[in-house]
Amino acid sequence: MPAISREDVAHLAQLAHLEMSDTELEKMTGELGVIVDAIKSVSEAAGNDVPATSHPLPLVNVMREDVVGQTLTQEEALQNAPDAEDGRFKVPAILEGE
C-alpha cells in the first residue's frame, strides 16, 4: 500500500489553499510517497523507547524580560501590504470560515 494516497494529497492541497491539477496531484502523490518512504527508515532505526525529536538542541527556557522594544511605524508595517486603507491592511471579504 502506498504511504500516501492521491486523496491525502488533494486534502493537503486544500488545507494549504493550493489549487492543483489532476496531473500535478498524480505527480505529487508519487513524489511525496518517495519522501515518506525515505523518512520511514528513521522509524526503523528509532524504537518506541526513543521520543520524537522536536528540538535538536538541548536548550530550554529561552525567555526575555517583559520590556517594550522597537516597533515598526504604521508606514513600515503597511509597506508590503497588497492593499491598505485607514492605516490597516485591506483584505478581500472572507466568505468561508464563517
Binding site: H11, D66, V67, L72, Q74, D86, R88, G97
Partner: protein, 503 residues
C-alpha cells in the same frame, strides 16, 4: 440578514426531559507590558498597526522569544485554579488561514498545556455550590482585529475587511473545563457565575485587566443535552462571541431551549459553532466542524521547551494574593454579617468598596447600610453601576459623623448624598451651603412644637393619658415647620418634658 426562526421549547419544560452538560473555553488576555513572543507593546486602543514588530506580522526570517512574565502569569492562573503545573511543556503551531493571523498559524499549546487538572468551586446567589473541574489552561497568542466593511457591517455581505495587527500576539491563557454535569435548571446561572469567577480570579491575581467589554475575558460556551436517565453526552454546540456575563447566561439558556426542540422533533443536533446575537438574544448557525479543523499541530521549532522547577513554582505561589474564597470567609467573620447579608454584598460587587469604607473608619454596619441602601438606590435610578457614582469612603465617613453629631438626620443625609453625587462638594460644605443642619436649637424647635400641640389638643390629651405613641402625630407638623431638619428623638423628648409625662 434574515435569520431562520428557531423552534424553542420552554426552558423549564426542556429541563423536565433533558439534563444539560456545559463546557467553557475562557480566553484571558494577560496585562503584560509586551506581547507573548515579541517585545511590541501590549496595549488597547492605540493607532492601528503601530504596536507591531516583524514577529507580529509574520515576516520571513523572524525569531519569536517567549515573554517570561507571561509564562509566570500563566502559572499563577494555573495555581489559582488548583491545577498541576507541567514540569515540561512545549508550544505548538495550530495551522489555519485567516487574515487576522498573519503567520498562517497560531502559536499555542497542544497536548502539553502549562497547567492541567484543576478545579473551582462556584457558589450561586443562594449559596448552592457547584464543583467545576478544569481540564487545562494553556498559553497562546491573540489574533489581530478584523473590521468588516460593507453595507451590512457584518461579515455576511461584507465587501472587504480591514485588519489591525496591534492585538496579534497579545498573550492569552485559554482555560478549558471538563464537561459540567448536574447543573439542571441552574445551568444558565452557573455559566454566568463560572465566567464571573474566572474574571474575578484573574483580576485578583492582577494578571489581566479583566474587562469583558474590551475582550480581556472572552467565553465560548458549549452546551449539550441528554435525555433524563441516560449518561451518554449529547452532541454539543459551541456558541462563540458571548462576551458579557449576561450574554453567557442568555446564550446557555437559548441553546438549551433550542436543543430540546431539535431533539423533541427527532432530529439530531449538528456539531457546529453558533454565533451569539446580543440584539435578538439568539444564536445562529456558524460553520459545521469540517476538514478545515484539521489544524495539523506540531511542536513549534522556533521556541524551545519550558521547564518549570519546584523552586520557581513555589516562588510564584508565594506571590499569589489571598484566595478569594478565604478572603470572603475572613471578611465575613471580621464584619459579623449574617450569611444572607454577606451574600448580597458579594452579589452586588461591594466587597472592595465596603472593605475600603471600613478601613477608612466606618463600622461594618454603617458601610453596609450606605452601599446596599442609598448608594445602590441612587445608582439604580441613574441607571449606572453603583461603583461608578463616585462615592468615596470619605464621603460615607463624613455623612455618618454628621449624623452621629446630630447635625443632620438620616433623611437629610440621604439628600446630602444626592447632592454629593451631583457634584456639589463634600457633605459638610453642602449642609452649610444649603442650610440643612438639623434644628437642635430648643427654642426654635420648642416654638414649632408649641404650634403643633396647640393645633392638636386631642393628641395632647391622649399623650397626657399615657398614650405616648400618639406623639407621632405631632412629629409630622414639626418636621414640616422645620423643613425636615428636626431630630425626631429630640422632638419626642421636648414634648414629654413640656407635658411632664414619663417616656
Amino acid at each position: 440578514m434574515a435569520h431562520a426562526t428557531e423552534e424553542l421549547v420552554d426552558f423549564d419544560e426542556a429541563l423536565d426531559r433533558y439534563d444539560p452538560a456545559l463546557g467553557f473555553e475562557v480566553h484571558v488576555e494577560l496585562n503584560t507590558a509586551t506581547k507573548m513572543f515579541s517585545d511590541a507593546p501590549n496595549a488597547f486602543g492605540d493607532v492601528p498597526n503601530t504596536n507591531v514588530t516583524p514577529v507580529d506580522l509574520g515576516l520571513p526570517g523572524v525569531l519569536p522569544v517567549v515573554n517570561k512574565k507571561a509564562v509566570e502569569y500563566s502559572i499563577k492562573i494555573g495555581l489559582a485554579l488548583n491545577c498541576q503545573i507541567a514540569e515540561y511543556c512545549r508550544f505548538a503551531r495550530k495551522n489555519y488561514f485567516y487574515p487576522d493571523t498573519p503567520k498562517n498559524f497560531q502559536t499555542s499549546q497542544y497536548d502539553e498545556p502549562i497547567a492541567f487538572d484543576g478545579w473551582l468551586d462556584i457558589e450561586l446567589s443562594d449559596g448552592e455550590v457547584f464543583h467545576v473541574e478544569i481540564e487545562r489552561a494553556h498559553m497562546e497568542e491573540d489574533a489581530g482585529k478584523l473590521t468588516h466593511m460593507g453595507t451590512s457591517g457584518r461579515i455576511q455581505g461584507a465587501d472587504f475587511s480591514l485588519v489591525d495587527y496591534n492585538r496579534a500576539g497579545v498573550p492569552l491563557v485559554e482555560i478549558v473545563t471538563k464537561p459540567i454535569l448536574g447543573a439542571g435548571k441552574r445551568a444558565p446561572e452557573l455559566a454566568k457565575a463560572y465566567v464571573a469567577a474566572i474574571r474575578e480570579i484573574v483580576k485578583n491575581l492582577d494578571v489581566s485587566d479583566a474587562k469583558m467589554e474590551r475582550g480581556n475575558v472572552r467565553c465560548d460556551a458549549n452546551v449539550s443535552l441528554m435525555p433524563k436517565g441516560t449518561t451518554t453526552l449529547g452532541t454539543r454546540t459551541e456558541t462563540k462571541n458571548v462576551n458579557s456575563l449576561r450574554a453567557v447566561e442568555h446564550a446557555v439558556r437559548f441553546e438549551i431551549e433550542r436543543h430540546a426542540a431539535v431533539l423533541d422533533s427527532g432530529e439530531k443536533i449538528v456539531q457546529e459553532t453558533r454565533h451569539w446575537h446580543e440584539d435578538t438574544r439568539t444564536t445562529t448557525s456558524g460553520r459545521p466542524k469540517s476538514d478545515a479543523d484539521d489544524y495539523r499541530y506540531f511542536p513549534e521549532p522556533d521556541l524551545v521547551p519550558i521547564v518549570t522547577t519546584k523552586e520557581w513554582i513555589e516562588e510564584l505561589r508565594a506571590q499569589l494574593p489571598e484566595p478569594l474564597a478565604e478572603r470572603r470567609k475572613r471578611l465575613q467573620a471580621d464584619w459579623g454579617y449574617a450569611d444572607a447579608e454577606f451574600r448580597d454584598v458579594v452579589n452586588a460587587g461591594f466587597l472592595d468598596a465596603i472593605e475600603e469604607t471600613i478601613a477608612a473608619g466606618a463600622s461594618p454596619a454603617v458601610a453596609r447600610k450606605w452601599w446596599m441602601g442609598e448608594i445602590s438606590r441612587l445608582a439604580k435610578n441613574a441607571d449606572v453601576e453603583p461603583l461608578d457614582l463616585g462615592v468615596t469612603p470619605a464621603t460615607i465617613i463624613e455623612l455618618n459623623s454628621l449624623i452621629e453629631a446630630k447635625k443632620i438626620n438620616d433623611k437629610i443625609a440621604r439628600q446630602v448624598l444626592e447632592y454629593v453625587v451631583a457634584g456639589e462638594g463634600r457633605p459638610t460644605e453642602i449642609v452649610e451651603k444649603r442650610s440643612l443642619a438639623v434644628v437642635n436649637d430648643d427654642s426654635a424647635l420648642g416654638a414649632a412644637i408649641d404650634d403643633a400641640m396647640a393645633a392638636m389638643p386631642d393628641v395632647v390629651a391622649k399623650i397626657k393619658d399615657g398614650k405616648v405613641q400618639a406623639i407621632g402625630a405631632l412629629i409630622g407638623p414639626v418636621m414640616k415647620a422645620t423643613r425636615g431638619q428636626a431630630d425626631a428623638g429630640r422632638v419626642r423628648e421636648i414634648v414629654l418634658e413640656k407635658l411632664g409625662v414619663e417616656g
